[in-house]
Every structure is written in C-alpha cells, then in structure tokens.
C-alpha cells in the first residue's frame, strides 16, 4: 500500500498510473512463475488426447487408470500440479495488491481515517495523500461501465487464447463455461466496485494476453473448431465435408517430421490442434451425420 502511494508521487500524482505501473511491476516480478504456469497448462493440454484414450480404455478400472495416467505424466515429464503451484504462489500477491488498492482508495471518511494506521513514516507517503481520484475519464473510487466492459472483454480474450481445444465434448462444454463465467462475473462486479480495481484487472488481463501470445500465439482465438452443421427441420440432409479444418490434418513434410508428429509412445495419431480425435472423426465420416443428428437418432 505504501509503495502504491510512493509510486503515485513518482507518477505525476496520478493514482491511476500508479496502479498500472505496480500491476506491471508485480507481473514482471512474477513473470517466471506465470510462464511456468502457462507452459505447464499447455503441456497438460497436449496430453489430453492420450489421457482421454486411457479414460476410455480403463473406464472400469479406476486404479489402473490412475497408474496409467501417472505413467503418462512421468514419461512426458509433466507435473499435473505444475500449473497450480505458481498460481497458488501468486494468489497472496494478487490479494495483497487488491487489498492495497481498496485501502488506499478509502472511499468513506472512516476508511480514510483508518488508513493512517497503515502508513509508514516516509515523508513522501504523507505528502502524497490524499490521492487524486480522477484518471482518464473515470473516478477511481466510483464504478465505471465502460471500464467494466473492458474488464469483461480482456478477460474473455485472455481465456479464449489460453483455452484448450478439447476433443471431449464434455470438456468442450466446460471450456465454453469457463470462457464466459469469469468475464461475466468480473463485468458484473465491476459495475459496483471502484474503478481502481477494474483498472487493475484490465491491466492484469492485458499483461496475461501478451504473455499468452508469447507462448502460444493467438491460441484459441485463431484455431477454429470443427464445423458442426445443424440441419433445420425440412432441410435436406447434407453430408458433412470430408475435408476437416486445417487444424485437423497436418501433412508431414518429411520422414523426420513424421517421427516428431507421432512421438514415440503415441499411436498413429495426427496433430489434433482443434478437432475431434481421429476415432470420432472416423465415426462421423462413416455415419455422415453431425453430433446433433446422432443424438436425435438415438
């Protein structure tokens, strides 16, 4: 909190700029952890097809399934908790930052009076207070609708970029849920919370978008899902295109590349960057029907 106040003094007495600067500094400090988390998440995502196969194979033998899953993790050098540990380490830091912003904003006289007990004896802290609440077009102590929209939008973008393209329909549904839940929740919260917090969330999301881009490019934003055509009542049944999305089929250019594509332990499985598993695709091709039609047929 005191650092935030000092930063404000150095940022031309702009508390808004101080929030942005501190969010960037904290993110830079946690850069290695964040990258580790993103990489671990990606590695876990890449194992999903294999794990899905195992789930099907050992559906009735949970113990064996667990053993096999551990074997897969071990062989591929992926720690299933790898993406959680950095997140857990970061969590208290985020909470501290959040609390600091709330406290410094001190939007009631009681809050402002209580602030005095948390101040260090640095002279700059005392001369910087009270902080200017105006930043750009909004008051940092009051909610702002535009900023709330920005929070939702940037969170959605970040979620979309980091979202795995799951082959399992159940996972797809879960992914879609995650894609909308957090952005919607934060959008709604920002309609009531001080804009200072919204500014912190927007900045955090933008930084995470940049980091995610550095690791996986635009990720889920550009990889399209396999097209599922829904037939309207009365519409003629049209065969689904045999040509799958570009994420489905990647022709190996050389023998060496073939080896890389399939890996040592995997079966003859092509890159499945965004589509159904080869097995599911085969079923679809044979039946010539989409998911919804199959469901209707049952």
């Amino acid at each position: 909190m005191n650092v935030l106040i000092v930063l404000t003094d150095y940022m031309m007495s702009s508390f808004g700029l101080a929030i942005v600067a501190l969010t960037i500094v904290v993110n830079l400090a946690m850069y290695p952890l964040t990258m580790k988390q993103i990489h671990s998440t990606q590695a876990l995502q890449s194992l999903q097809p294999k794990l899905l196969e195992l789930q099907k194979k050992y559906a009735k033998d949970k113990q064996k399934l667990a053993q096999e899953q551990m074997r897969v993790y071990k062989e591929s050098g992926v720690n299933p908790a790898g993406c959680l540990v950095p997140m857990l380490i970061q969590l208290p830091i985020w909470i501290a930052l959040y609390q600091s912003i709330i406290r410094v904003l001190a939007w009631t006289p009681e809050d402002f009076l209580g602030l005095s007990q948390f101040l260090y004896s640095w002279p700059v802290v005392y001369s910087a207070l009270p902080l200017a609440e105006k930043f750009l077009w909004f008051n940092l102590a009051l909610p702002d609708t535009y900023l709330a929209v920005m929070v939702g939008a940037t969170m959605w973008l970040q979620q979309k970029m980091s979202m795995p393209v799951a082959s399992d329909p159940k996972q797809q549904t879960q992914g879609r849920m995650m894609l909308w839940t957090m952005p919607l929740m934060f959008f709604v919260l920002c309609l009531s919370f001080p804009s200072g917090l919204a500014l912190f969330w927007v900045t955090s999301s933008v930084i995470r978008i940049i980091m995610q881009y550095l690791v996986s490019g635009w990720g889920g934003l550009v990889i399209s899902k396999p097209e599922i055509k829904i037939r309207k009542p009365g519409q003629k049944k049209a065969a689904l295109p045999e040509v799958a999305t570009e994420a489905d089929i990647v022709e190996p250019r050389s023998e060496a590349e073939k080896g890389l594509e399939y890996g040592e332990s995997g079966g003859k499985r092509q890159d499945r960057g965004g589509g159904y598993s080869a097995r599911l695709r085969a079923i679809r091709r044979q039946s010539g029907r989409g998911k919804d039609q199959r469901r209707k047929g049952r």
């Binding site: 709330i102 406290r103 904003l105 001190a106 939007w107 009631t108 006289p109 009681e110 809050d111 009076l113 209580g114 005095s116 007990q117 101040l119 004896s121 002279p123 005392y126 001369s127 207070l129 009270p130 909610p143 329909p169 159940k170 549904t173 879960q174 849920m177 909308w180 839940t181 919607l184 929740m185 934060f186 709604v188 919260l189 309609l191 009531s192 919370f193 001080p194 917090l197 199959r294 469901r295 049952r298």
Partner: protein, 356 residues
C-alpha cells in the same frame, strides 16, 4: 448422451448461479466500511443537540437527559448495484449541529444542509433549494446571520440564515472536510489541497494568501491570542499569525493530526493519531510535555474548567490537568458499554458534564 446432457445442464446452471451470485455480491455488498458518521453535539442552557449514527438529530433536556425530540432527517434513497439491497433511508451525519436563532443546522453526507426547529424538532431541507451538493463532512459555523461550511466539492459556502440565499462561494483546490473557524470578520478553513484559507467573512475575499502545508487539512483551526493553530496530515501542528498568515512555528509528530487542538493558559494541547497528546508552548511551539494515551485520538477534546478532556478511539476518556500536567482515567466507555467501540465524535461539555 443423456449423461452429457445432464453435465451440460449442470454446468450452465452453475454459470447462471455464479453470475447471479456476483450480481448479489455487487449489489448487496460494498467494499470497505459503510459510512456511519461521527457528529458531535451542541449544548445550550437547557437543551443538548447532537447527531446520531442513525441519521437523527436528537434534543435532550440538559438537566436530566430526557428526550425532548428526535428529528430523523429526510429519507435518502440509495440502492445497491441492481436494486437488490433494501432502500437505505438513513442520512449520515459527520458535522456537529449548530444552533442559530430558533433552528439547529446540520450538514449531511448526502450533500444537504438541514434546518430543524429547535423547539418542535421539525426538520426541513435548508440548502440547496433544489438538488444537492457533494457530501458535507465538516461542521457548520454561524456568525453575523450567516452560516459557513465547506463541502467535498471544494467550495466554502456562506448562506444567509434568514433568506437561505448564497451570500458568497469560495472554491478551494481540494475537498473540504474541515469545520471552519470564525474570528472577528475572518473565516479560517483548511482544505485537502493542503492549504489553510483566511477569507473575509462578509464577501469571501482572501484575507491573505493561503498558507501551504505538506498535507491535507482535516482538523478545524483554533484562533487563540491572534494566532491560528491547526494540525495537518503532514504530521505537523502549525501556528500562524492571524493578521498575516505568517508561520510562527510548527511541531512534528509521528502520525496525522486529525482533530482540533485546545488552547489554554498559553499552552496548546494537540491530540495526535499516534496516541499522544502533545503539550506545546503557544508562543514558541516548544514541547512542554506529552501524554501517552496508548490509542489514537481522533475526536476533538473539550476544555472543562482547568481540565482538558480527551477520548481515545478505544474508548478511554482521560482528563489532563492543565496546571499539574497530570493525566487521569475518567472512564472506559468500551468497558461500560460491554463491547468494543470507536470514539471519533467530538466531545462536548456543559456545566461540568462531559458528553461522549
């Protein structure tokens, strides 16, 4: 497929649930503390007027403490983000009520100044005639038929008590939480722009150029022996020449000076949020002694004969003897109340009785 559909339905229900929960959280909860107010009181020969944390101005019979009337201030509609919170009807009062003529005046956090008939307790909106100002946190002062106060909009207002007209307005560079002080024809008021202003009470013109400190000024100034004494959030107590605004001396402490000082017998008693009351020579600013009360002092002390009565935030009330410079614990309000509490309202006294 049936299982998949069930899972899907459950997940979407969860999404809807989470969004609804965030709606409730955002609409029904607020960050930080809710404003409650810390209004003090005013005592006349017969009656005691004070603002309550329930948004009422209450009149008590000063002799026996019986309730004469209570005036709940005009209902204020404030809803949560999505209207799911119950409508609040409470007006929050921080400023101490002031008696002028046959009415008691009080500024409120909702930006309205109320006038309450001192005999009947009938409350009415006094200013502004339409709409509202930004929050009024400091108290009002009365002088020569005018009411003076500052608002969070940074403006000092002078109103005609009889006509409700705005006599003059003076904009400062920051919010005003400080109660002004009036002496002769000059009004002194501190602002969040870190300056103390001396204004001509008749027309609002500057008496001298504002005196700049390094912190916001919340404490009300005190005029004593042609000198203005006030504390600032830069952790200094200042003494200025009333005629020129020139600095006589300043005294440093550990934390903010939030409340006004008491001047008596050429001594200044300056309570501080560091839990001490500093006793300073009024002429030189030299420290005579200090009392360590162990808890921040944010309520204004009061002088009763030769005793300065001070209350700490934790609820202990002390008397500081201005002749022997000894402190004595008078009461532990928290103990009496049987619960933890915070004392932030200014103390006031009448005929040897102190009101907390």
């Amino acid at each position: 497929m049936q299982v998949e559909r069930v899972v899907k339905t459950r997940l979407w229900l969860l999404l809807v649930g989470l969004v609804l929960m965030s709606l409730i959280v955002s609409g029904c909860a607020t960050l930080g503390t809710q404003p409650k107010g810390w209004a003090g009181g005013e005592v006349t020969d017969e009656t005691l007027f004070f603002g309550s944390v329930k948004g009422e101005v209450i009149a008590l019979d000063a002799s026996d403490g019986s309730r004469v009337w209570e005036a709940p201030l005009e209902a204020e509609k404030s809803e949560g983000g999505f209207g799911c919170t119950p409508v609040s009807t409470m007006v929050v009062i921080y400023g101490t009520p002031v008696l002028a003529g046959d009415s008691v005046y009080v500024g409120a956090y909702n930006g309205i100044v109320y006038a309450i008939n001192a005999s009947t307790g009938e409350a009415r909106k006094f200013y502004p005639e339409e709409g509202k100002l930004e929050a009024v946190i400091g108290g009002l002062v009365e002088g020569s038929g005018k009411l003076y106060f500052g608002s969070v909009d940074g403006v000092v207002y002078a109103l005609d008590v009889n006509t409700r007209d705005t006599v003059w307005r003076f904009p400062t560079g920051g919010k005003i939480w400080s109660t002004p002080a009036i002496d002769d024809d000059t009004l002194y008021v501190g602002s969040f722009d870190k300056r103390l202003y001396a204004l001509n009470a008749d027309d609002g013109s500057k008496h001298w150029e504002p005196f700049a400190t390094e912190g916001a000024i919340v404490a009300a100034p005190v005029v004593y022996n042609n000198t203005i004494y006030f504390g600032s959030l830069d952790r200094y107590v200042y003494a200025l020449e009333a005629a020129t605004g020139a600095l006589k001396w300043r005294f440093p402490a550990e934390k903010w000076f939030w409340t006004k000082v008491v001047a008596v017998d050429n001594l200044i008693y300056a309570p501080c949020l560091d839990g001490r009351v500093y006793v300073l020579n009024a002429e030189t600013g030299a420290k005579v002694t200090e009392f360590d009360l162990g808890s921040p002092v944010s309520s204004s002390p009061v002088l009763v004969e030769s005793l300065v009565i001070v209350a700490t935030e934790e609820g202990r009330v002390y008397s500081l003897d201005t002749t022997s410079q000894k402190q004595r614990l008078l009461a532990n309000i928290a103990e009496l109340a049987g619960e933890a509490l915070l004392i932030r309202s200014p103390l006031f006294a009448s005929e040897g009785v102190v009101f907390v």
